[in-house]
Amino acid sequence: MTAVLQIIFDALSLGSLYALGALGIALIFGVMRLVNFAHGDFIAFCVFAMLWPSIDATAVVFAGMLPFYLLIPLLLMIGAALSILSEIVVFRRFRNTNPATMMIASFALGFVIRHLMLMLYSSRPKSITLWPSLGLPVDFLGAHIPMLQVVTIVITLAALAVLVLFLKRTRYGLEMRAAAENFTMARMLGVRANGVILLAFAISGMLAAAIGLILATISGTADINMGANVMLIAFIATVIGGLGSVPGAVAGGFIIGAASVVFQATLPHDARVFRDAFVYGAVIVVLLVRPQGLFAPKSAKQRV
């Protein structure tokens, strides 16, 4: 029983991380048909923004010294600012090009950000300690659950709730959903293209910052490549969920998180190192059965 509970919490917290990442990708894809592969580098950038630039192994914490009620908003703003800046400087110029061109532009942007970080911080991973008290376990029905897992799950659920309220209840949320479904039609109804796209980038950047904070707290290190793995899996999650579908992205994130944890727990010991192969194998099976994803948006097919 406690083992099952432990697995459930592992799955939920890992799934939360992937869901947040997938959301950041799905929102931008929705309004712009851009798969932003620089998203992983946004995540790493937000983590490194807490450190002074230096090439030493022991990081000199800078913004990370702030109390959490200042640090969290500051990092969210840094994430949003970086994301908005990349839209204005880079992606705006590719807006009417085909999706492959935009995707390659996002790879290029990712390289630039990564190498900027290499210059400032060197490639050596740095240890960073945020909120050590979150590592302590809490007892829940007999299982020892790290506080951080609970916090991760709560943060994700709160972020999802805010996002759903924003999308469903506000004028800008409505405009964003309309634009995601039919961008030209939304513009012909007076929806400002730049406004909607900048908003999507800002939210996506904030989600990247949230992931950065969670990753840094879990791992205790700042590594330039730390966002890449999350980004890859989050992208796969959006594909499984159906590209362009926001609920699909969230569901995809949780499904992949759950699959990883369940394979980790149930595979025979010798096969565990190949866990990711099993996860990706399952992804292939899903896509063979439903190539459009599990929750393909309704806009994909149009009634006449």
């Binding site: 409505l174 479904e181 012909m188 929806v191 006449v304």
Partner: protein, 240 residues
């Protein structure tokens, strides 16, 4: 007073020229019926006015202000509301959400709730299903929805591209009855594009025949419908 003036515009898609020097004017409260065979450039004309496709040369003015090259959202904000061909409802959004998308730009926010009720009064079928996803509606209901959606922007000119496309004749009659009634009630300026010219009988007003990207005939709809040259334009005889 001239509300919309299109002056000598040319539109090309790559090497294909869709519109060659089209000039037209629409006065406030007028109905203009644009007709012509398939591929004549009718939809291109509407899309060029809406700012969706760029005009290669010529100018478009609304209320005397030049809007050539303006973005679709800016043109919509000036009061040009296009109901494009194929309707383009937001299928995943509810009926009410569809109606509200275009209200974000309105300055007279206090009037929106009242306008919503009047659209529902006009289309009771939409009111009954206001929380249903728009993608579930039939073609005729979707056509009503997009007309309602355009009305919700409080447009000065409403342009409709092929409102009869894919609809049963009985439903087409209903759509036109609504358009005629709306025009009488709201003094709406209407620009209707339709491949078949027969419904122009219902709307009255002026009519323009486009063929090969040019205006080939222009006059009062009632006279034009009887004109032999109108039929010839479709079958391709005669020189133009």
């Amino acid at each position: 007073m001239t509300l919309l003036a299109v002056d000598d515009i040319t539109v090309s898609y790559g090497r294909l020229t869709a519109l060659r020097g089209v000039t037209l004017k629409i006065a406030e409260g007028e109905v203009l019926f644009v007709t012509g065979p398939n591929g004549a450039g009718k939809s291109t004309l509407l899309n060029a006015i809406a700012g969706v496709v760029p005009a290669g040369s010529g100018s478009i003015t609304m209320d005397g202000a030049k809007v050539t090259g303006a973005s679709p959202e800016d043109i919509a904000r000036r009061g040009f509301s296009l109901v494009p061909e194929g309707r383009n409802v937001f299928g995943a959004l509810s009926i009410e959400e569809n109606l509200k998308v275009g209200t974000g730009m309105r300055a007279d926010r206090h009037k929106i709730a009242g306008d919503l009720e009047s659209v529902y009064a006009e289309f009771p079928m939409l009111a009954d299903r206001r929380h249903t996803a728009a993608g579930m509606l039939s073609g005729g209901q979707q056509q009503m929805l997009v007309i309602g959606r355009a009305l919700m922007t409080a447009p000065r000119i409403m342009a409709i591209d092929e409102p009869s496309l894919g609809l049963a004749p009985k439903i087409i009659d209903q759509v036109y009855e609504i358009l005629v009634r709306l025009r009488a009630q709201r003094k709406l300026t209407l620009l209707i594009v339709e491949q078949s010219s027969t419904r122009a009988m219902m709307t009255g007003g002026r009519m323009i025949l486009i063929r090969g990207g040019r205006i080939v005939l222009e006059g009062a709809a009632a006279d034009m419908i009887k004109d032999e040259r109108l039929k010839q334009a479709y079958f391709g005889f005669g020189d133009h």
